[in-house]
Subunit: 298 residues, 2 copies
Amino acid sequence: MSHPLVECIPNFSEGRRQDVIAAIADEVRRTSGARLLDVQADGSHNRCVITFVGSLTAVKAAALGAARRAVELINMTTHRGEHPRLGAVDVIPLVPISGVTMDECVTAARDLGRQLWESLRVPVYFYAEAATRPQRRWLPDIRAGEYEGLVQKMADPSWAPDVGAPTPHPTAGATVVGARRPLIAYNINLTTTDVEVAKTIARTVRERGGGLMHVQAMGVVSESGRAQVSMNLLDYAATSLARAVEVVRTEAARYAVEIEDSEVVGIIPLDAVADVARACLRLKNFRREQILEARLIE
Amino acid sequence: MSHPLVECIPNFSEGRRQDVIAAIADEVRRTSGARLLDVQADGSHNRCVITFVGSLTAVKAAALGAARRAVELINMTTHRGEHPRLGAVDVIPLVPISGVTMDECVTAARDLGRQLWESLRVPVYFYAEAATRPQRRWLPDIRAGEYEGLVQKMADPSWAPDVGAPTPHPTAGATVVGARRPLIAYNINLTTTDVEVAKTIARTVRERGGGLMHVQAMGVVSESGRAQVSMNLLDYAATSLARAVEVVRTEAARYAVEIEDSEVVGIIPLDAVADVARACLRLKNFRREQILEARLIE
């Protein structure tokens, strides 16, 4: 039996003061049932991203604890950084990994948003799958105007927060909370150095070009000088890694180009790897529990 | 970081008395650091197989505890069953899963064998990778003659045990301890009902037929009536699942037959699944630690 597993990847507006970043991460470390996986800070963005996993209950508690510390320690009135941001606790996405539904994550995101308002007095917008209306689905739309434009934005009734008063927290601004599918960052390198081929394939493959649903793609030059189709798969259960590869392979063949190799950037859920094996081997009746290590997850 | 993980799959000569089977399994359950995964009993074989994992230290302790109970509770002088067996604790294989080498498992198997003799007075043979000479590599060779033939077999100097006196334990016989790679049981179903095609492919593919190293294969009829190549992959790191499939596909094409689907029977290590993804997607630089769940294993 594998336990319900949720990933949480909050972004905080501090990327320089190591003591502040450590204090925020410590709140996750000391939360029973939450497991801290990664802390990444970017000085020029002046922003850090903390990755942790656990049950819904543990993840909510860890996120609230970390947010409390961030609100205490970060002052947005003097914050400068290259990355767009709305508040000290800029965004908190919840991601269902296994044994938990998207609906449950949406409910948890809404709970967490209410707690942020009730205990920290930070107004909250819900985004992605937790959005309360279509125009709040995309993070960049909510973030437009940034912290500095919040007073004016929140005075507009159409941008009243989903939870809390329509005025920003004086030093912590506002926070965006939501639920989304795990994202897989995946690059396919081609047997050509002609980046135009990669760009053309990317335009055909991606959702925005009428291609595969839940796929973002662009053509770039790889580190080794190859043309590369760089993709984000936003819902691997609907549009799998294996399907994306097949479509890129077919499109590349039009230009007498092949797939040289590919790479997963960062983290990938076990179920996505198992799906590749299922597709590649035409496996039938293959269950996650047949993977030895899947039975050992705490 | 994932912890060193060893699998242990001891076979005991009791498949009918549930209280005895439970008492043996309880020894594993109560060993700190060992995790009981499965208990399977077969009444007609009069034999049970207990699967557990843990660190080398935990696995050795759990195996010794379970063996002590089995020696107490099983009397081979009255044991009857269809499966060949040499003793109450018939065989104890140690299998490296991750973060541990085969050499370490061989050393652990030798330690465990000495403990079985010193604390339980059961003489021990080492087999598979832990064998002390080539003729003791294969379990069926060691088991030939079974419990009933042990007094005579052990009197033959070439069959003196590796540890202990050359006479069987009066009620527990002898035990075989060793280390081997994880075995993957894998069946490929063909788009034909002609079992002769599967048999011919199996003969070509398997090591014994001059085919792939570390592959056992036979042609059978599947439950749904298809011709099936039924395989054991004895060392997936050397001969991968993906390679076995490619060779079967190529051979099948000679008879205008294709692969319909395939199935993994029982348990498969995570690394073997990751290897399929690597081969199928031509993944470069893909690390086990990129799989989210691999970082959560206790």
